[in-house]
Symmetry: C2
Subunit: 373 residues, 2 copies
Amino acid sequence: MTTVNEVSGPSRLAQPGEGFSAEEVQLAARNHGLPLEALRYDVTPVGLHYLLTHYDIPETEPGTHTLTIDGRVDHAVVFDLAELRRRPCATQRVTMECAGNGRALLEPRPVSQPWLVEAVGTAEWTGTPLAPLLRDAGLSPEAVDVLFTGADHGVERGVEQDYQRSLPVPEALREDVLLAYEMNGAPLLPQHGSPLRLVVPGWYGMAHVKWLHRIEVLDHAFDGYQNAVAYRVRQHPDDPGVPVTRIEPRALVQPPGFPDFMSRTRAVRPGTVPLTGRAWSGHAPVTVVEVTVDAGLSWEPATLDPAPDGPGAGTEWAWRRWRYDWVAAPGRYTLSARATDASGRTQPVEQPWNRGGFANNLVQRVEVVVLAG
Amino acid sequence: MTTVNEVSGPSRLAQPGEGFSAEEVQLAARNHGLPLEALRYDVTPVGLHYLLTHYDIPETEPGTHTLTIDGRVDHAVVFDLAELRRRPCATQRVTMECAGNGRALLEPRPVSQPWLVEAVGTAEWTGTPLAPLLRDAGLSPEAVDVLFTGADHGVERGVEQDYQRSLPVPEALREDVLLAYEMNGAPLLPQHGSPLRLVVPGWYGMAHVKWLHRIEVLDHAFDGYQNAVAYRVRQHPDDPGVPVTRIEPRALVQPPGFPDFMSRTRAVRPGTVPLTGRAWSGHAPVTVVEVTVDAGLSWEPATLDPAPDGPGAGTEWAWRRWRYDWVAAPGRYTLSARATDASGRTQPVEQPWNRGGFANNLVQRVEVVVLAG
């Protein structure tokens, strides 16, 4: 018998000192992060935004694509793209981060997509708000979860599936949740969910279902693979865990100077080095960014830029730039930045481990050599 | 003394059985290949084209960017973008491949950007032909090489440099070599060389200098890092080697069915499976594509589509689609396709090893499980 079980291996942790596998590198070659110098852009240019595709990018057709809203609603409805575009339109600037960002730095390392720190990007998403659509369809009083189904199809751990994720009803009814058909002012690209995707500002990327074609209102909590098996913070395989939801605070340093091709170690000229980067959180606005240039022995406050202008730029769910002037003398340094948000969450300097490598916001380390003058 | 030598390690080969290093994964996370399902598109959508950046994507400004042509010419000239856009304009559809494609499959493995088979893409490049610019500047009779300098700056193996590559004069004077300012009908994106790059149809990616700001005509062969040290096919460190130039023939299979997330092994329903993919060569048009479904025991001819229509589509330097109908019964299979071009070059089924992992066109292997019916 040849079944889908044969295409999947079990989940596992790397052994101590075990190098990355060809499977991990294969995922890294097709998915990609933000090149860190692209932290310079308020809005990430097309093609530089991080991208994770669970299965294949499906072949969709904007002209015939439809969205069905059904399940526990008073009247099921079907929309085509033209109908959705005639509804009220909103633009949100949103920083999106993969829930697995930081996984490859963990010890022991969960074997999956091997992100270091770069699985992030900020885009301006334009679409129609979800909440009025749900209200128009008439949510049943028994409604518990809203289930979103994409056109992407594959296997994970032996489970054949269309990609599906649910949101609890109160989250689905937030006024800033969008059904987006444009990114940065242009129709969605195939890899970002063309022609329609969900955008849930503040949540990790797994919630922003791409290639969206069905929204089903459920009278129970969705227990499918992506909610109940994957994307849970657990300490051991039998731990039921807690769901991965909102983005933990993180700051990144835009690496100064110029890099070595292979090591990415930075060479920097001595003198005043204007350090900058971005910081974000999906829980609450970032209130403090601190910088260390001595590998964490001492931390100094950075300056936060005002929230930027532009369409959707007022949202609290887009990253903000920080700045810190470093007076650099020749030598070797390890730079980090650390974000704290208005909810009091801050980034750890020791790793917060979990078995899936999710929601990990250990501070980044940037290796720098300041050259002799 | 802190010097740029401190940011670089020596070149090396992985030990037998050595897993991939964090440095290799770090490169894989920022550079990216073509997700193989994107072989479905004649022209690769923005963001899916492979991308390799040696250093950082530099910050350039289209409004003030200039191109200088100097060296062994009768009169040095400086152009801004508006002036280049007023010159004759041409569009070429070109398949571009990284010279290091396939490196990560080699035994022993050269430790560098770990491409498997996906470092490829096809774009429509629009710009002004280079040859008339050089003729207008007046090439000296002593001209030997034409040197192209980009705005990207970094270190490789201890050598601090702007990215520079030369072409021999006869290649630089080919009528199809472009100074491109558009990709797929839009201004170049930052990561693809905004606002100006060189496009040398048929050559590996290292020749297509991005962020181009200077063209210098030399009376000698350029002996800088990227021509004399990197991008040479050599068998041992002291081998002077031969330069990497044109793209060796390659066919890729668009993986059929649907994938497992982690292993990327394909699950396929039994019956007639229309296999398809692309084939290209930088030496001469592809004339034959063969397919094996039994790991190379037997090869059957595929059908080549006619060359596609569209602007620049008539060029011989764009990939062509091939098709093969596979009658698939349940079981495990390894699929490959093999391209042969009009120069008689064909893909090897045993690895052609060299120390840099360049110009490697070993046939791809796609693992497939055909499910029980």
